[in-house]
Amino acid sequence: MGKVIVVTSGKGGVGKTTSTANLGTALALLGKSVVVVDADVGLRNLDIVMGLESRIVYTSMDVIEKQCELAKALVRDRRVDGLMLLAASQKNNKDDIQPEQMKAICDKLRTTHDFVLVDSPAGIERGFSNASAGADEAIVVTTPDVSAIRDADRIIGLLQNAQIEPINLVLNRFSAQLVGNGSMMDQADVLDILNIDLIGVVPEDSGVITSTNRGIPLVYEDASPGAQAYMRIARRLTGQRIPIPDLEDKGLFSNIVKWFTRNR
């Protein structure tokens, strides 16, 4: 029986879809069978980030309306074994799907796959409740800025009310340089506010933009720091214990600057 994990954030643009695509691909590269589900009905993006947009014939809406079998709606990613995409309908909107219908799809997918990653839309409305309806676990993606963190906090509260456990945090777009000169919150500050388990820190990586535009998830670029971070998170999701490397700049100068700004 596979796990259903919802990838969510509250705020838009923090990297939910990028994280879903990369973690899904990384898990498949580790030999797991994975389905990534786009729950952003009406504003689908996951297919583009994964480079599968030209191959979508059926969507989750067609499955719900019984236009096709679930297995037939899954698009196989040919670059790696065991990776499938279930796309969202682009012509409907979020209210056309009921949470129970999404839960039924997730329950069916978990019988045939190790991991079902659901890419949640931004917001706390119907799209979010649809995406989290069938989830056992959650990954909350946030960037180290106050507005993303407040929204993540809100989402964590809603996930806890829905008894989704565990809730793991991915800290995205982390810049050691900006933390070093005191203009970005560090890992400890973020965890102090959100108070959930950190599953990974993804450094700011301009490679994400190119990879999104080309439709090739970053994890295929072995040398990229972002790819390595996503691979580590995927290993942790499979139960391996891998320490989170300290991405903060440990240069003497920045430490002195930090010491002064902290004690001001």
């Binding site: 407040r150 906090d153 809100r154 809603l158």
Partner: protein, 224 residues
């Protein structure tokens, strides 16, 4: 202060109406009217402690004053103290930074009669905890975008980053205590305060209460 006959001051157990001696009841009434008119906030529903300096007003003058305060200003008289001229303690803002509330006075009485509720977790953005019957104790943080409201005190055994509203039934002696104090807005009774933007944690517990100048003061919390 501005009014020599009657002074209305906030102490930690609530409002005190301090009346100078050797005056006629008519003078006192007029002074009370001026003093209350001077306040820029309504006092409706709150209670006051009358502090008289000797020689005291006649017994019937006091009962007249009590009914007048109730009828004209909707102020409940909590009790009457008679003090010597010198023994009037300074109001909160002028007091030293440690305010140990004496156990022997009845200052704690209203607090003791209240209920308390423990919230055993962090309160996250968008969540609200409300307890008009008494005080709230939070085992965790109160995060930005959340709200805690209590009839009595609010004690946060973590970081206060959201909005806190103590004394929501009008008890002005209510306090807000947090291990780390970085709130967006504070409210005690009908007094509000907004923290300066980008308030950094000071690394020690702090307490907010109403000071003498009708403002919420925040200072280092030492002990109750």
């Amino acid at each position: 202060m501005a009014n020599p006959i009657v002074t209305l001051r906030a102490y930690r157990d609530g409002l005190h109406l301090i009346i100078k001696p050797r005056l006629s009841i008519a003078e006192v009434e007029e002074a009370i009217q001026q003093e209350i008119a001077r306040m820029n906030r309504p006092l409706v529903g709150t209670s006051v402690q009358i502090v008289l300096k000797s020689p005291v007003l006649e017994e019937e003058e006091i009962s007249l004053l009590r009914s007048k305060l109730q009828e004209d200003y909707d102020l409940t008289v909590r009790g009457i103290d008679v003090v010597d001229d010198e023994s009037v303690s300074p109001p909160i803002a002028a007091a030293p930074t440690t305010h140990a509330i004496s156990q022997t006075t009845d200052v704690r009485a209203p607090r003791n009669s209240e209920l308390s509720r423990i919230i055993p977790h962090t309160i996250r953005s968008g969540q609200t905890e409300e307890f008009p019957q008494g005080s709230l104790i939070i085992y965790g943080d109160v995060n930005s975008g959340s709200e805690v409201k209590a009839g009595g005190d609010i004690v946060v055994l973590g970081t206060l980053r959201g909005n806190a509203y103590a004394g929501m039934n009008g008890r002005l002696s209510a306090v807000i205590i947090a291990m780390d104090f970085a709130p967006l807005q504070l409210q005690i009774g009908n007094y509000t305060s907004r923290s300066p933007a980008s308030q950094e944690s000071r690394g020690y517990p702090e307490i907010a209460r109403i000071g003498a100048e009708d403002v919420i003061i925040v200072e280092k919390f030492v002990k109750f």
